[in-house]
């Protein structure tokens, strides 16, 4: 027998985790002398109370969907890819090279090419740790996190020495040409009330497509079957003739590719140039998103939405409540990540016990 019903695992536990995180955050807000209710309502209003808020919330969510899916796919092969940050940054490099090197006639073609470039660069960045894991047994957690630093240093070097516009002080590439600019929510659906400058762009649809694609891959294809089998039991996978090397490499390439796709949203869709930190922590948030979303695309989507709200609502909170500093927001976001990701078992075990007792009573 399972210890508890599926709905409890999928919905109840993340919900309790979230409530706990909010309660502790509320205490923190209380401590600095502000009202938790007020703070909460500012965050909700700021994130989903207006088209303006939605534009940012969904923009952030798009980033988190890509990195969340990336972590989720690797999880299915029992691989802990915490290199999303670096893979996405290098994906940004791919987008920049694609956008700057060819005079694209129309954004649709540019988007296709940039998608391919972002995925290829992200995958290539994941390929090295994957190979080291598969062939040499170097632990993927260690190597991917070190590759985040290498990616960041590489980007600084390239932006300062190679891509910087001559005469400019800013370590960033030239602005991409107009035809590569992706249509944003205002361009696509002006009647929804988004402002002209909303960051939400067509990449959101790519993210949704990626959710469907990952679902099909994991639960409908032979490769997904092999990835899940390998993730659950490596000895059994060897028994069935599944090549571990192949699974490690392919799942990490897909994972890196998905991380890389973040760049079409933030680099091509929003900044329209490659800046020094195009990822802004989304790679790490992706870990929490995947954990909270139980590595399922639907869960990842919902968790990404939640973290999008948290980011946008947090920005509003900082604006409206001067006593809530930037660092304070980081604390709140960290609490949510901690409760939903790292402290999952703290809630899970008591809930399991309650369900066992209920079942025995009934």
């Amino acid at each position: 027998m399972d210890k508890m019903p599926k709905w409890a695992d999928i919905a109840l536990i993340p919900f309790i985790n979230l409530v706990l995180a909010l309660v502790v955050s509320g205490l923190v807000v209380l401590y600095i002398g502000e009202s938790p209710w007020e703070a909460m309502s500012v965050m909700v209003r700021g994130s989903i109370g207006s088209a303006y808020g939605w534009g940012y919330t969904l923009y952030y969510a798009t980033n988190f969907i890509f990195t969340g899916l990336a972590v989720a796919v690797a999880f299915h092969a029992r691989m802990f890819n915490i290199g999303g940050e670096g893979q996405a940054a290098i994906g940004g490099l791919g987008v920049a090279i694609v956008c700057l090197s060819v005079p694209w006639p129309h954004w649709t073609i540019a988007l296709l090419a940039a998608t391919a470039g972002a995925a290829a660069f992200g995958a290539a960045w994941a390929a090295i740790p994957a190979y080291l894991q598969a062939k040499r047994g170097s632990h993927i957690v260690i190597t991917t996190i070190m590759f985040n630093f290498i990616a960041s240093a590489l980007l600084v070097y390239l932006l300062v020495n190679v891509f910087r516009v001559p005469g400019s002080m800013a370590p960033e590439t030239a602005r991409f040409a107009d035809p590569t600019h992706l249509p944003n929510a205002y361009d696509m659906a002006p009647w929804l009330g988004f402002s002209r400058s909303t960051p939400l762009n067509v990449s959101f649809l790519v993210a949704l497509a990626a959710c469907v694609g990952v679902w099909l891959l994991i639960w409908r294809t032979r490769l997904g079957y092999e990835i899940r089998a390998y993730g659950h039991s490596q000895t059994a996978a060897v028994y069935a003739g599944i090549n571990p090397l192949r699974i490690i490499m392919i799942s990490m390439l897909i994972s890196g590719g998905l991380s890389g796709l973040l760049a079409i949203n933030s680099v091509m869709g929003e900044a329209e140039r490659l800046v020094i930190d195009p990822v802004q922590g989304a790679g790490f948030v992706g870990i929490a998103v995947a954990l909270m979303g139980r590595s399922h695309p639907v869960g990842v989507f919902l968790a990404a939405l939640l973290f999008g709200m948290l980011y946008q609502g947090g920005a509003e909170l900082e604006f409206e409540m001067p006593s809530v500093s930037r660092e304070m927001l980081l604390v709140i976001q960290a609490l949510v990540i901690m409760f939903t990701g790292a402290l999952d078992n703290m809630v899970r075990m008591p809930v399991e016990r309650i369900f066992l007792r209920l079942r025995k009573g009934g």
Binding site: M1, Y239, I242
Partner: protein
């Protein structure tokens, strides 16, 4: 013994439920002081739960434990040790790179400094060893001594903690017949010194040989407690299963045909470059079962794994139906073997044969997931076809419950094994590799699986059977090869040999050398 002397162990109305499963139902048990008491029952009958309650791993929902006439609460294993109860687990709890004496004092040290404890333990161990024929060198490192010796260290550990009541859980599973005999001599000696022993086993022969009284458990209930002298294996089996059971396997003489599997000088090295197979040569013909006997860990697992394509060979050849199998490089894997008509029921169904969180239908395609009949098109698998196929096979192999959507971990051991056996046998292979076909499987399912193996043989298939159960080897095999230390010590016909002779071969003793 007088009537007034209290029982060593008295259990009254012990009940324990795990969720909806009633593991122990109102169990009462009396064990006399200085007796060897056997507890038999199928897997899941509740033996382990009962002993875990007695040893403080679980808390009973209801009931009373009385030790030497004193009602005793046993909330944890520390309390059990204080009450004089010691447990020797099936899987030893020893620190492999510690010496014997270090293992013995672990958790029973006298103070912060080790040396006084070690000196004392060394003296006590010597006394105990002499007293009970437990010949163990206190200073040898545990990983360097034999499994039989390791078990004696476990017993010493309990005696050092002044255990008067010893619980042994399936103690002979890893021993050669000779080692098992030695263990029984030790247990007899302990009994003569007034120790009380509870022996949990599923081997009826051992119950008959050594116990004074025996209790039978079935479905969480204690169905009978009898004097061993007054009962028979047949009667015990019937009490365990609840119906008459065929203890012997019915089979016609083999009718061997062409050579299907031909292995010459096969060698395997493990990751540490240690030789695990030192030049194995054997042949199996169509329509015959070759049984491989041996104590666990003498290369049988590696033989199955290399034949099944799970590990690489370091040398030698394997041929199927006269054609050499390519043993080099990445082409040698489980897929390549299945393509050549080799099916493999692995020794460990939970770690190898099944993916426990996968549903039954996902497991039914495991290893055959490239098969065209399970593909919708180049991209997607045909899950509906696989589910239908699973439902059919579950019905033919009487898997209960016959629900393809149930996860593998939710089936009983016997039904899990039936899923694996169904998957492999229904492929109609030329050669079936089958390891420990009935380990942890209830008697009813054992009967069924044995019949399926015989039926496959009678269809003219070659079968390689590896089992640590000598009885199983003797009753199923048409020929028996005994493995020891990565080599085949000899081949015998079941009719011309007995457990004694096989036991000597299993210990590496050949007639010629003796």
């Amino acid at each position: 013994m007088t009537d007034t002397e209290p029982y060593a162990i008295e259990l009254k109305g012990i009940s324990k439920a795990f969720g909806p499963v009633q593991a122990n139902k109102d169990i009462s048990l009396h064990v006399r002081k200085g007796a060897i008491h056997g507890i038999v029952g199928e897997n899941g009958a509740g033996k382990s739960t009962l002993m875990s309650i007695l040893y403080g791993f679980y808390k009973a929902d209801a009931g009373e434990i009385i030790i030497n006439g004193q009602p005793t609460l046993i909330p944890d294993s520390q309390a059990a040790i204080r009450a004089g109860i010691g447990m020797v687990h099936q899987h030893f709890k020893l620190v492999e790179n510690f010496t014997v004496v270090e293992n013995v004092i672990l958790g029973a040290e006298d103070g912060a400094m080790l040396q006084p404890s070690i000196t004392k333990a060394r003296r006590v161990l010597k006394e105990l060893s002499d007293e009970y024929e437990l010949h163990v060198d206190p200073d040898s490192v545990v990983e360097e001594i034999s499994v039989g010796h390791q078990q004696r260290v476990e017993i010493l550990k309990q005696l050092y903690r002044h255990a008067d009541i010893l619980i042994l859980d399936e103690p002979t599973g890893v021993l050669t017949p000779a080692e098992a005999d030695h263990l029984f001599r030790i247990l007899n000696g302990l009994r003569d010194q007034g120790k009380t022993i509870i022996l949990i086993t599923h081997k009826l022969r051992e119950i008959m040989e050594i116990t004074d009284t025996v209790s039978v458990m079935r479905r969480g209930e204690m169905t009978a407690t009898v004097q061993t002298a007054d009962t028979s294996p047949e009667q015990l089996a019937e009490l365990m299963v609840g119906r008459k059971v065929l203890l012997r396997v019915d089979k016609a003489p083999a009718n061997p045909g062409e050579v299907v599997l031909d292995v010459t000088d096969l060698q395997v090295r493990d990751d540490q470059k240690v030789e695990r197979l030192k030049g194995i040569s054997l042949q199996i013909r169509a329509g015959e079962i070759l049984g491989i006997a041996g104590v666990a860990g003498n290369g049988q697992s590696e033989l199955l794994e290399v034949l099944g394509g799970m590990i690489p060979a370091a040398g030698g050849t394997i041929s199927i139906n006269g054609e050499r199998i390519d043993l080099t490089g990445t082409a040698s894997d489980g897929q390549s073997r299945r393509a050549r008509g080799i099916a493999h029921v692995p020794e460990d169904r939970q770690k190898e044969g099944l993916i426990m969180p996968f549903m039954a239908w996902e497991n039914m395609g495991f290893g055959y997931h490239h098969d065209p009949e399970y593909q919708k098109n180049r991209l997607f698998m045909d899950n509906a076809a696989l589910k239908q196929d699973t439902a059919d096979k579950m019905e033919r192999f009487d898997v209960r419950p016959p629900n393809p959507m149930l996860e593998a971990k939710n089936f009983s051991g016997g039904n899990q094994q039936k899923i694996v056996v169904a998957r492999e046998i229904e492929r109609n292979p030329d050669l079936l590799l089958i390891g420990q076909p009935t380990r942890g499987v209830d008697i009813g399912a054992i009967e069924f699986i044995h019949k399926q193996i015989i039926a496959l043989r009678d269809q003219g298939k070659a079968i390689l059977l590896v089992s640590v159960e000598l009885e199983e080897i003797l009753s199923l095999s048409d020929r028996i090869a005994v493995m020891f230390d990565g080599k085949i010590m000899g081949e015998r016909l079941p009719a011309d040999t007995n457990e004694g002779e096989l036991g000597l071969l299993m210990a590496g003793v050949t007639k010629g050398a003796a």
